[in-house]
Symmetry: C2
Subunit: 291 residues, 2 copies
């Protein structure tokens, strides 16, 4: 696991392919100079209008994204597309998305002093906003991905950006006491809930996806093994019709580390008829922890 | 030709392979925030003790180099070695070389706040130094490599970091009025001087090198074409024993652009006996322009 220092250094280094983005983001981080503020470079988000985007800088404590408009090279666009689908996805409902443009209205490039001035104004605004968040929690890198603060708060909530590094950490929030677990799901004892850790992109025998509004997961088999699993799941669903899935979606963060993000609690749709697909409807955006 | 903005952005982007260097240099440039100060990332220098080094940040107006001690990866060391020899070489005689260490005395990594504090102290010192340079010339990117300011000053001087982009620009300082020139040397009319544009590293039939103290150039042939050229040059030397070479060494800058740097005025050694070699002794470190 990396340290906060590793994280900060690698986050800056990660954006090296776009020179404007590097200049602007390094300026923001150096000018802000506040290690209490968490930032994520290249955060994959689903925006309020349903569109996907890779925002250049994301401040989880502020529900704030910054997009830097830099004319991208074709090659970079392709590269982004290739890696996008495995990425951690934030549902940006209610988030603010700001844009910093490197081009003027007439399409010509702004001067460096102009861009600097805009960046510095953005940083000033961030500083003021920080003082206005009444329940501001300083960025603690060591506990950022550990279950303890979540257990202490008492619930997992989409809006809280609950993210873990391992399945075990997610399971601890629901009473798991063991040391190892390899399967893609875990049933909470004495409960009709289970934790499900799907990849919400094509992987192996699955082509799962989360709907644009975040409210439906389609689990889709793409080969015979997958179809056999779907058939078995259908039998389970008829047998236990009240079973609910607390879903932590598997993904990679901007630095390539695995993470699991809470995307809601879901229940399978009983009316599904396509033999290759089971759809799950979101029934909750928050779940009480159980210890 | 790039603009100053391109230059600044690309200079930062260039150092992307080392995450500490990236963090520290971007912090220096953003904190300094002074476009009058020229900086060069990854400047190849020959230090006062004769050793070669790639300094991480060079401020020509201050004769100041910063080296960032970051434990390099083997791969990077090799990569540096591979590219070093084609690089622009500054003779750092009289220059200041400062070090910024990312490791503590005991070999452990400094904390990010510790490194930040040292970087900020370095920047403060630079600001003070700038006010103390009485003949400080603001960095003018447009004229940085053009012959006009040199012609106005009246001389080319090693200590002034005289650098041109093209042979023609160097030749203009000595009266050339034409538009094109492809050869590796140009004789100044009505004079016993010529401009010589050698590569001071192995290239084609030559393995030329500048001695560690910058006082001798060895022109060494490595094949029969080279040896034929050496023989011809020897005949010229006996015929015109007073001929002097005003030498602009060909190299690449940190961004890969070609440049020509004045390294002195040289005269061939008459006593050389090795058939493959002609040695040239530096007789001047400054040359008056002729227009």
């Amino acid at each position: 696991m990396p340290t906060k220092t590793d994280y900060i250094l690698r986050s800056l280094q990660k954006i090296r392919n776009k020179k404007w983005e590097f200049f602007i983001i390094s300026r923001i981080i150096h000018a802000l100079d506040d290690d209490e503020i968490e930032f994520v470079t290249q955060q994959y988000v689903r925006k309020n209008d349903g569109a996907y985007a890779l925002t250049d800088l994301y401040f989880p404590q502020f529900d704030l994204h910054l997009e830097i408009d830099e004319p991208p090279h074709e090659k970079e666009i392709q590269k982004q597309k290739d890696t996008l689908r495995t990425r951690d996805l934030v549902l940006a409902t209610g988030h603010t998305i700001e844009r910093l443009k490197t081009l003027k209205e007439d399409g010509t490039l702004k001067s460096l002093p102009e861009v600097r001035k805009e960046v510095d104004a953005f940083v000033d605004k961030m500083r003021i906003q920080k003082t206005m968040i009444s329940d501001f929690l300083p960025w603690n890198f060591e506990t950022r991905y550990s279950p303890e603060p979540v257990i202490e708060r008492g619930f997992v909530k989409i809006a809280d950006n609950v993210v873990f590094r391992t399945q075990i950490d997610a399971m601890r929030c629901f009473g798991f006491k063991g040391n190892g677990w390899q399967k893609g799901a875990w049933k909470i004892p004495d409960s009709d809930c289970y934790l499900w850790f799907p990849r919400l992109f094509e992987h192996g025998m699955w082509q799962n996806e989360l709907s644009e509004d975040g409210k439906v997961i389609h689990e889709r088999a793409i080969n015979s093994d997958g179809r056999a699993s779907i058939a078995k799941q259908r039998r389970d669903i008829s047998e236990y019709p009240n079973r609910k899935a607390i879903v932590f979606a598997k993904a990679k963060d901007a630095l390539g580390y695995s993470l699991l993000r809470y995307v809601g609690t879901f229940q399978p749709r009983m009316t599904e008829t396509h033999p290759d697909v089971i759809s799950f409807d979101r029934i909750k955006t928050c779940e009480k922890v159980r210890i």
